[in-house]
């Protein structure tokens, strides 16, 4: 790359890097602490004063994926000696495994609902954003503001009507219902962000395409979509993060069938009180898919709108 007057000096870069890395490390501490808690024993997790060095154990993860009950002597006798490593861990606490926990199901629900609503939201959001960006839609500004305003209602405020409406439509506690709900909540964000991205794409590209005999549809998916890929990817990350972690609606509208992981994780209980290692293990595993998704798309997320360089 040739020398540019706008390229920061080496010292500036070094100093900027130092500050950013410093912030990143501080901000990581609570997160690392959560992850570390997942590998602590219950006693270490609430140690007073807190412990930084500890003997790691998988007890939290075993507890996360199993249901256990305190064993009576009769039950221990009947069960015989533990045969697997995880049974041994559980047995040390005087408990026996009674079956798998529902964490797996809840996790799967989160995947279906989170990714389903993100996909739908991207589809609808890109179409609407394109239309708002390129066409003379009557009352455009009002419609855009209307879309934004749907995000302003606190979930608690509309929860009762939504609950009643969903039940009469048979959507309560279903994946479809939650996908539609999260899509609706996220549409405002995606339309607004995507419109910004599409606005930045020079209209000349499409005009050239139209002259070449492309239809509007073809121009949209052959010219605009590839150009907007970066915007779509970073918007998708935001939508997924919201849908993945949403709590208030999930608590009120889902239960046995379509409950997602966020309302489930804090309910994990141990032999007495909250099982912090298992809660931390649940939170850690739950973080992985969004993390992977973000890391895969980070190029887009971080590049932002580099094609803004052609902005007039």
């Amino acid at each position: 790359m040739s020398f540019s007057v706008t390229e920061p000096s080496a010292r500036t870069k070094w100093f900027a890097g130092l500050l950013v890395v410093g912030y990143a490390i501080v901000t990581l501490i609570p997160l690392l602490w959560i992850i570390a808690t997942g590998f602590k024993s219950p006693a270490d997790s609430i140690a007073y004063p807190p412990v930084v060095v500890f003997e790691p154990t998988l007890e939290g993860y075993v507890n996360l994926f199993t249901d256990r009950t305190r064993a009576t002597e009769g039950m221990l006798e009947e069960a015989g000696p533990p045969t697997t490593w995880y049974e041994e861990i559980v047995r040390e606490r005087g408990t026996v495994i009674t079956g798998p926990s529902r964490y797996g199901e809840r996790f799967l629900n989160s995947v279906i609902i989170g990714f389903g609503s993100t996909a739908l939201c991207m589809l609808l959001g890109t179409m609407a954003a394109y239309a708002f960006s390129r066409f003379r839609v009557p009352l455009k500004d009002d419609l855009l503001f209307f879309i934004l305003s749907t995000r302003m209602m606190p979930p608690i405020a509309v929860a009762i009507p939504i609950f009643l409406m969903f039940r009469s439509l048979g959507l309560n506690d279903t994946h479809l219902g939650m996908i539609l709900l999260y899509t609706a909540v996220n549409l405002s964000l995606s339309v607004w962000l995507l419109k910004g991205f599409i606005d930045e794409i020079p209209i000349e590209y499409e005009e050239a395409a139209l002259i070449d005999g492309y239809t509007r549809f073809q121009a949209f998916y052959k010219v605009v979509l590839p150009q907007a890929a970066t915007g779509i990817a970073s918007t998708a990350i935001f939508c997924l993060i919201f849908a993945w972690n949403e709590y208030a609606f999930a608590v009120l509208l889902t239960s046995g069938n379509a409950q997602t992981a966020p309302p489930f994780i804090p309910t994990i209980i141990g032999v007495a009180g909250k099982d912090w290692p298992a809660v931390a293990a649940g939170a850690t595993i739950f973080l992985v898919p969004v993390m992977v998704f973000t890391i895969l798309l980070r190029k887009h997320l971080l590049r932002g709108i580099t094609f803004g360089a052609v902005r007039k």
């Binding site: 920061p8 870069k13 879309i147 910004g196 992981a261 804090p266 973080l287």
Partner: protein
């Protein structure tokens, strides 16, 4: 990948359909593109909202199914607006809202500005900074109460390490003066990355050519920052503020898990108060009126703000 899929799908579109689509006017396409969004929003957001507005004029209570529902006109609204407790929760919300936005914009913009210096490995560290906002707010609230506990949490020990104070000498969520800051810190930790990302997009949208031109005019770096960087990034910054503002006006899960609204009512934000009315007292009519008032407040503030935003964009 996606493009390829779309292309092949297009090839498989029957000729008749394709011709028909080709024949569509721009106006029709615009409607086809916008309609699904509008319909979904009408069904899932607006319909319940209208329902809520209707309920707000009644004395309906979900937990009194046998009681007759009466129209009470504006009585719910009068009761809310004359209730001094509600003004206290509004104050707590304003404190939370203003300080989270100020801190997140300052830190978020600074980070974006530094990252935009393109030092080596900047994308790796940026990705790391983004991690906190991927956690579930309910989980974050849970773990921050833990971090804030003077005996077993990390926060007091960290402060004690740097200041030499006794970790047991203060309690972030137990003190009426510190608790409002405890929720600001947790929210800032979690959501600064959001502001940072949008600011970064803004900064990267500024073409190098503008700086090059300024450099030719011998404008100082300081002057370039104020005359180019800030104005050009402003629409993005304002968008970030808008979204954080709306989100934090509705803030519920994180704070409820952290403090439960206490001590006293010092962190009882409007959403927490609203939830008590709607799901603990089950005063459905009353809480609907409360919700409508909140909605109108945000709506009003946001519409003024969006007008300003549009002006900035047109400049």
């Amino acid at each position: 990948m996606t493009n390829h899929a779309i292309e092949s799908a297009a090839k498989q579109t029957p000729d008749g359909l394709a011709r028909r689509i080709r024949g569509l006017s721009d106006r029709a396409i615009a409607w086809i593109f916008v309609a699904p969004t509008i319909i979904l929003l009408l069904a899932v957001n607006i319909f319940p909202l209208i329902w809520t507005i209707r309920l707000s004029f009644t004395n309906f209570r979900v937990n009194r199914p046998n009681k007759d529902v009466e129209w009470v006109g504006l009585r719910n609204y009068e009761r809310i607006l004359s209730d001094s407790d509600i003004w206290n929760t509004m104050q707590a919300t304003a404190h939370f809202l203003i300080w989270t936005i100020v801190l997140q914009v300052l830190i978020g913009f600074t980070l974006a500005y530094l990252i935009n210096k393109k030092f080596k490995g900047n994308d790796l560290w940026t990705t790391i900074i983004v991690f906190p906002m991927m956690l579930s707010p309910a989980v974050v609230g849970n773990f921050w109460t833990f971090l804030y506990q003077p005996q077993i949490g990390l926060f007091n020990y960290a402060i004690a390490f740097f200041t030499g104070a006794d970790p047991a000498s203060f309690s972030m969520i137990g003190d009426v003066h510190l608790a409002p800051w405890a929720i600001v810190i947790a929210d800032t930790w979690m959501w600064t990355p959001f502001v940072m990302l949008i600011c970064l997009a803004g900064l990267r949208s500024i073409p190098d050519s503008i700086y090059e031109a300024a450099e030719c005019d011998r404008a100082s770096k300081w002057r370039q920052f104020w005359t180019i960087t800030i104005p050009m990034a402003l629409p993005f910054l304002m968008l970030a503020v808008l979204f954080r503002g709306i989100e934090n006006f509705k803030m519920f899960d994180l704070v409820v898990q952290l403090t439960g609204g206490g001590p006293g009512n010092t962190t009882t934000l409007t959403s927490i108060d609203l939830k008590r009315e709607a799901f603990e007292r089950w005063r459905t009519g009353y809480s609907s009126a409360y919700a409508v008032i909140l909605f109108v407040t945000v709506f009003g503030l946001a519409s003024i703000y969006v007008k300003a935003l549009n002006k900035v964009k047109e400049r």
